[in-house]
Amino acid sequence: MVVQLLQELLQEMVETYGDRVYRLALRYTGNRTQAEDIAQETFLKAYKNLDRYDRSRPAGPWLFKIATNICRNWLRDNREVLCSGIEDYNRTPNPGPEELYLAREGEEKLLHAIHNLPVKYREVILLKHVSELSYNQIAEILDLELSLVKNRLYRGRLMLRDLLTKRNGGYYSGE
């Protein structure tokens, strides 16, 4: 394919899916800079593999699969630094000191909850609630049976509720 055509395809992908990929990475890492890096890596990888992408199908699941893998690698490399620092990335327009404090506290609580969810639940939850994908798409991205997606989504949501309301001290280990 001609370079220009490839770049047009890339631009289209960024316009359609860029924000959702970025949000996924943002929730995964809790950090704007890291999220931008992950999004960029995702699209660069997609660009390099465009010849392997079947253009008759929507690019979404394919892109989110790449993004999820990059997030997994990120997680593997950053296990220690997690939760050590977080930015207030949901900027409210002209926040007062009170609002800023509340927003920041809310974000920290969310990030804490996400990182205390076991990974297999976390991924399903993030793809559903942040990237707003359907069961079938999530199953395709994570290579899971549809029934497993439903199950993990259900259990993950209950865990997340418990973590956010601190019903069990805010921790889930292992299962």
Binding site: Q7, L10, Y89, R157
Partner: protein, 161 residues
């Protein structure tokens, strides 16, 4: 559709979840949830859980200029492309000369204007071709080029292969 819930049969919690997630479920599920108090309670509870999880939603969007940065990284690098085109041009020229020394005389006979014109055309076409190719295809392309020359020269019975 795997769900076969009848109006009088209680759907399991995953089916209620699917309904809340706006996935495809049997049309009777909605009716049942209205009429069965137990299921309706489960439905309300799960809806609350989902609202809590929806706190994860964010309206954040990609920083300005994201695509521009990406475009810079994906832009073809002109130097290797030009270099590869130059190398292939040289290869084509040298192989022609080796295969048929009379080739040079032909070049001299066409006159300087036409010579320069042909060279520019050929070089630019190579440059465009090379930009879109990986190294593997570059080599294949070069081999095809030489084979083509041999074929043409052979056809004109100028060279014995």
């Amino acid at each position: 559709m795997e769900v076969t819930t009848a109006v009088n049969k209680c759907p399991d919690i995953l089916t209620i979840q699917a309904y809340l997630d706006k996935e495809e479920v049997h049309e009777d599920v909605a009716k049942h949830l209205q009429s069965c108090p137990d299921c309706h309670r489960n439905y309300r509870e799960l809806a609350e859980v989902i609202v809590t999880a929806d706190k994860l939603k964010t309206e954040a969007s990609l920083p300005e200029g994201f695509y521009k940065k990406l475009a810079v990284k994906t832009a073809p690098r002109p130097f290797p492309a030009a270099l590869a085109a130059a190398a292939m041009f040289l290869l084509a020229f040298l192989s022609s000369y080796v295969l048929y020394p009379g080739y040079l005389n032909w070049w001299l006979s066409v006159g300087i204007t036409q010579q320069v014109g042909l060279m520019i055309d050929f070089f630019l076409e190579l440059l465009f071709a090379v930009q879109a190719l990986g190294y593997f295809w570059l080599i294949v392309f070069a081999l095809i080029l030489v084979a083509l020359e041999v074929l043409i020269l052979h056809k004109f019975k100028i060279v014995e292969v």
